[in-house]
């Protein structure tokens, strides 16, 4: 097939060469050189195009998989979201489905055999340390980077085959991906135009993100937070059912962070699929329903947030007492494991607070403090990604989110 078309191409070029004969004049050697170069260039292009066509073909075959049952039946996704999960139909119910996704840049493996699904009607947190492969994964969902292996689909289709991409998927990928000389309004309008989105919708999203008053200023004058809002406006532009946000609260002030959290919750409550990445667990702790945690490009956890917290963190009791040494043997005998906290307090693991109180009373030990601690989401996150940090030499980026144990 490709051989044939190559031959035909070469034949056509040879004919073209005869036509060129007169044009190129008497320089025989030069004429041959030019012809050889042209034929070689044409051959390279033909081969490249056929390979591309074959790849497209293969992808189309894959995309023949029907969309989720809800969409096939024409029922709004969120109406079925709950029943899909409880019926154990989770495997096919995801609005975003990644299967064996792998990507490397040069020698560096960015994403390694990653499979997960993102469900409609929920805010799904995409967590991992910096460099874990979150942004790469998001770019692959958006069809910007091509995976080496595996596939990722939105509503069962690869991104590039979506008819109205902005109306189905909205994404905030990188802060300030805007020409600094272009106004916020023009930026949104030129995007809206491609997907036949009405001009009035541009005003609407500017209003939603609170940029109406600066809509006609050049985006180069925007602060990081305003740039972030403009990115969010771009994601909302097509009123899409699937939304991706890569580190959306970066550069936002407290008000802005609260606003983003509300926005995410509101979008999910509408029945939309919300997939939001962060390297700081604390940013999202109260916002997400489900977490997909990765480290070094590999999946670490994919579960409801409550399950993730309880699985990856151990609760403990903090004790302060002038007679700690007197209490230690009794606690150890009762099966507790003991560590010392940074302030000299005793941290008691694997023993409920009630039992500790009883023992202290029996041993006649005076207690200043008996405080049950449940590990924060941050700790669960760090525990689960331990050993998966990409940059070991650097100062720990996660440190400022950690609560004191």
């Amino acid at each position: 097939m490709s051989g044939d078309s190559l031959l035909i191409g070469a034949g056509a070029l040879a004919n073209g060469g005869h036509a060129l004969h007169g044009l190129l004049g008497g320089h025989h050697g030069l004429r041959i050189l030019v012809l050889v170069l042209v034929v070689a260039a044409a051959a390279v292009i033909v081969v490249a195009l056929t390979r591309r066509a074959r790849a497209r073909h293969a992808q189309k075959g894959r995309s023949a998989v029907p969309a989720s049952p809800a969409s096939a039946a024409g029922v709004p996704e969120h109406a079925l979201a709950g029943s899909l999960r409880s019926a154990g139909a989770r495997r096919d119910g995801g609005a975003i489905v990644a299967r064996g996704l792998s990507k490397h840049y040069g020698e560096k493996v960015a994403v390694d055999d990653l499979s997960f699904e993102v469900q409609p009607g929920h805010v799904t947190g995409f967590l991992g340390p910096n460099g874990a492969g979150k942004s790469t994964t998001m770019r692959m969902i958006m069809g910007l980077d091509a995976p080496d292996r595996g596939s990722v689909t939105v509503y069962g289709r690869p991104y590039h085959s979506l008819g109205w991409p902005l109306r189905e998927v909205g994404a905030l990928l990188e802060a300030k991906s805007v020409h600094p000389g272009r106004s916020a309004y023009a930026h949104l309008w030129m995007l809206a135009r491609t997907n036949n989105i009405a001009k009035s919708r541009v005003d609407e999203v500017l209003e939603i993100v609170g940029l109406t008053s600066v809509a006609h200023q050049r985006a180069g004058q925007f602060s990081l937070g305003m740039g972030q809002r403009l990115g969010i406006a771009g994601a909302l532009l097509g009123d899409p059912g699937v939304l991706l946000f890569d580190e959306p609260v970066n550069g936002l002030d407290t008000d802005g962070i609260r606003w983003v959290r509300q926005l995410l919750r509101g979008l999910a409550a509408d029945g939309r699929t919300v997939f939001v990445s962060s390297h700081l667990m604390s940013e999202l702790a109260q916002t997400v329903d489900h977490v997909v945690v990765i480290g070094k490009g590999r999946l670490i956890a994919d579960m409801p947030i409550a399950e993730f917290t309880s699985r990856n963190s151990r609760s403990y009791v903090r004790l302060r007492s002038p007679q700690l040494d007197q209490l230690r043997p009794a606690l150890e005998e009762a099966g507790a494991s003991l560590t010392t906290g940074p302030d000299g307090s005793l941290l008691v693991h694997d023993l409920p607070a009630e039992k500790i109180g009883e023992l202290a009373w029996q041993e006649s030990v005076l207690l200043y403090e008996l405080a049950p601690q449940s590990a924060s989401l941050e700790e669960a996150f760090i525990e689960s990604t331990e050993g998966n940090l990409e940059f070991h030499g650097d100062p720990p980026i996660e440190a400022h989110g950690v609560s004191q144990p």
């Binding site: 195009l49 591309r52 409609p120 991409p165 020409h179 036949n196 909302l236 802005g256 926005l263 939309r272």
Partner: protein, 279 residues
């Protein structure tokens, strides 16, 4: 800046099976919005006009003043059309920069990710850029070329022989000025699509215009002539000359076809890379 509670229209979750597909017309219009909404592109076009017409006038004035002092042979070889179009060879720099910016500004600012998210079929974006750029450059290029010609003939009038638009060769050369800018600009656009970085693209473009001739000139003349006639600069000179007396060059239309072939090769290579590479 006020922070408000998100107000969202009711979600239309049946988005999955929306009929239809984004079309080329919309992509073309989006590219138009991109060009007119950024000052640098507008300024570059203005620079093209100012440089093209202004420098033509300056060079023409200088040649008019010197004409009587030149040898008979030089006077014989003087081409009033060519003289009045000298500015085109400067305007080509501005056009090349515009062509480069149309592509690389998207990469340097990150807009390319938004663009390809909206239009995942990337060759469509390149095709829209190409068509829009060609139309704009053709209009501006021809306007500059004709204006420079008419102004130039006015300057030359009474001091040297002049050309008129009743001479088909002169019309060919003046039209050729605009066409040369379009073809050369498309070559720059293709280069930029391959290279993706503003500074590197402009360097390669300027290098192919001004450095290659220098390299060709220092080679032994038997090679030099063979190579020189393939260079864009040389092709441009012939295209904007009504009566070319030199030998060892391509005719104006042959040169134009060769230039278009360069542009096509660069654009096709760029398109293939555009589809294959990560954005």
């Amino acid at each position: 800046m006020t922070v408000q509670t998100p107000v969202l229209p009711p979600a239309d979750r049946a988005a999955v099976t929306r009929a239809g597909h984004y079309g080329f017309g919309a992509v073309l219009d989006s590219e138009r919005i991109k060009i007119v909404s950024v000052r640098s592109t507008v300024w570059t076009l203005l620079a093209t006009a100012v440089v093209g017409i202004g420098l033509s006038a300056v060079v023409t004035s200088a040649q008019a003043a010197r004409y009587s002092a030149r040898t008979a042979a030089a006077q014989q070889a003087f081409d009033p059309t060519r003289s009045s179009l000298s500015g085109i060879l400067f305007a080509q720099l501005a056009i090349g920069v515009l062509a480069v910016l149309v592509v690389t500004a998207e990469y340097s600012t990150g807009t390319i990710r938004a663009t390809f998210s909206a239009v995942p079929r990337r060759p469509l974006v390149l095709a829209a850029k190409l068509i829009l750029f060609s139309v704009i450059t053709f209009i501006v290029g021809e306007a500059v070329s004709f204006a420079a010609f008419l102004i130039g003939q006015g300057i030359l009038s009474g001091k040297t022989p002049t050309a008129t638009l009743s001479d088909p060769s002169a019309v060919r050369a003046v039209t050729g000025g605009g066409l040369y800018l379009v073809a050369l600009g498309l070559l720059a656009l293709g280069m930029a699509t391959i290279i993706r970085h503003t500074a590197a693209s402009i360097s390669v473009f300027v290098g192919s215009l001004f450095v290659l001739p220098i390299i060709a000139a220092v080679l032994p003349s038997s090679y030099s002539d063979d190579i020189s006639r393939f260079l864009p600069q040389q092709i441009g000179t012939v295209m904007t000359t009504a009566h070319y007396h030199g030998t060892d060059t391509f005719g104006p239309w042959t040169g134009f076809i060769i230039l278009c072939a360069y542009a096509a090769a660069a654009l096709i290579t760029g398109a293939v890379l555009l589809v294959r590479r990560d954005a």
